[in-house]
Symmetry: C2
Subunit: 454 residues, 2 copies
Amino acid sequence: MSPRPARRPPPTPRPRSPGRGRARRRRRGRAHRSRRPGARRGRGGSPRRARHTPAAGRSAAPGRRPTRPASAARRPHHRAPRCARPRPCRTPRPAGRRARRGPRSRRVVRRDAARIYHRIMTVVGAAVPSIALARVPDGAPRPEDFVLVDLPREEVADGQVRVRVLTLSLDPYQRSTLGGRHLGDAPVGPGGLVPGRAVGEVVESRSPEVAVGSTVLAETGWRAEAVVPATAVVPVVVPPGVPLSAALGALGMPGLTAYAAHERHLRPQAGATVVVGAGTGGVGAVAGQLARLAGARAVAVVGSEEKAAIATDRLGYDEAVLRGPGLDGALAEACPDGIDGYLHLGDQATLDVVMERLAVGARVSLCGLMDQYNGAAPTRLRAGAVMAARAEVHGMVVHDHHDLALDHATRVAALLASGELVTVEDRCTGLADAPAAFARLMSGTNVGKVLVDL
Amino acid sequence: MSPRPARRPPPTPRPRSPGRGRARRRRRGRAHRSRRPGARRGRGGSPRRARHTPAAGRSAAPGRRPTRPASAARRPHHRAPRCARPRPCRTPRPAGRRARRGPRSRRVVRRDAARIYHRIMTVVGAAVPSIALARVPDGAPRPEDFVLVDLPREEVADGQVRVRVLTLSLDPYQRSTLGGRHLGDAPVGPGGLVPGRAVGEVVESRSPEVAVGSTVLAETGWRAEAVVPATAVVPVVVPPGVPLSAALGALGMPGLTAYAAHERHLRPQAGATVVVGAGTGGVGAVAGQLARLAGARAVAVVGSEEKAAIATDRLGYDEAVLRGPGLDGALAEACPDGIDGYLHLGDQATLDVVMERLAVGARVSLCGLMDQYNGAAPTRLRAGAVMAARAEVHGMVVHDHHDLALDHATRVAALLASGELVTVEDRCTGLADAPAAFARLMSGTNVGKVLVDL
């Protein structure tokens, strides 16, 4: 999965001095409130939990499980909510409201202030809060590798539009642009804006083609708003009852990746066994459901019991197996006739195990190299296993498959609308939380498509 | 390239005691002469050199280079001829006839005696000289890993035929049956007959389908004759002017491997660049010529300057590059637009270099893992390189492509007959020389298809 964001060089960020930010907050901070109801729920160390958004109709059907997975209810209350802080707290907090009254660390205070400041800046339009790279991550990225900065607000020239970001998409490919290892993408060095795609609202337009108020997809980068060419934005179209954010997930680039891998690389037949390397991720969740809908036996490889439950209960996988030392035995049990299709989105160890269990004529799509993106040794696959299975191994780069975009949009939108295909989203609120959400994504602890609502 | 010989368990060999062999030679040895003229040329430490058999017509064309490569003429005379001995001699011999008068080592004497004995046994039909595995080779096989044994002469039952071996084919897949690592083939342990395919003459038949005197292909193993089911032999058909042995090379299993890899995996278009990992070997020589005939730029990876000359001068490759540390630079020069097709028949280092130079949309056929057959670490390929090139990697097992056999036979026979496709053969004489020839094949020092004439 390797999208190629717009190649415009990122504007030079102006790192904000702590003193200046504080001064602004003193001047303006307390006078403003968010325009969006509920936005303030996100502050104070208790932002919203990850929301799992089912497709309309499916969860409402009688006799079905409730929308929220059972495991979510089991989650101990002292565990830090998903987007709250870079690290989960170490000691259990007392129950009830007292938890909110405890001392808050300087970091949490600073982050909350940053979030408030960012909302103000968005509203008053004085500057554009953005996330820049502080340093090239060493291994899996950490929140400290990023910094919230103010970018000067750009003017809108002829043929351009200003897009206010509503929801930002976080994707694994972004990791490999940090340090410049991603295929064909401009590398992002320290101080550079992190690239990213978002659903946004056009708030200013100097193009007759794009109306103010329209909802569009745009390559904005990680910032509150962006001025982009009118030709580079795409109207967001989702079926009734499906959230706009689906345009970034099942109907967006991850969905197209899954669709193309399914249609062009895996091509499972009824009765075949398809293994998806990260079964509940943004790409994997769609691919697994497409395989199931094609009549294949779909098996998810996941990183936790919680994800296994989501895979089988919500996404309809026939089986879910846990990554790690027991994977080989679990796969042997889950795939007694071997593996006919494998979508690789995982790590070296998973690849090694799966390759040895391929059935003759297996088809493999190499779609994501999560550990390698984090700087691990290059992922390699055993040639003898490819030969033994007479396998066909494909490298997946989504840009090669844009000719499938219309097919994909039509098919997946219909499946979403009918509830045959559901989405799992891992959302948090506030640009300041994007680094922590990204760190979670790149360590594989997200569940579903990772989105940041602004 | 992974043929699957007939699964009959090899007859238990009866290792010959040195005394018994010597006694027989005393009794019968000197009374017989070979029935085939020229066969005695092979004895005495100076057997025939490797013969390079061009297709009729091609080498005879005016202005072309002579049949024997220039390098053969340059070879210093003191170098041991290809099939003479397991190791080349260490000290230069004096020139001229004196070389034959020098003292002969006990090993040479013993080997010559074995060859004479083998021919006698074949003629008188008292036993069947055969090559058994003495021990499972550690790494590349050596001649000492094999032993010449007598097998009891079997009776021909109803529906069986007795095939006298004329030419035995040596192939890399045989290496991995030694010790039992080959795909689906019965493992060969110490004492077991080494499997192999041969062109032979039917000398006894209890089947109305197969006439005595007919020339057939059969899975005989490494022995002078074999009793096999009549249904398991295939009549040898070669175009006029083409040697019968072509049925074991360009028209046989290596040729079908190359043809299938060309037609189904590489599918080069005019102007594409195809790299062949062992460009002058049994499979590679055919694949390279098919690529050239399809209008592709064909580049051979070879192990010596001698082979490079054969690749470009005889086989028509556009370029030949040497394996080893300089390969990357040489490939960069030979393939300025990247590599569109790669037939892997080589080693890990070659694979590593080639994979990094694949063009977008490249097609790779994993056809032989020479170093791995010899017990090296499993060959692995970098997943990121597959993704970067959006490559399609296929595992080649020739049995999957027998439906192409008629196409292959028709097309390649026509090309051989017209001289558009030539064969390069590395032949030696006498079953006793098979182990040394096999060791040469598995160390990559052969030039062309390795054959043993009996």
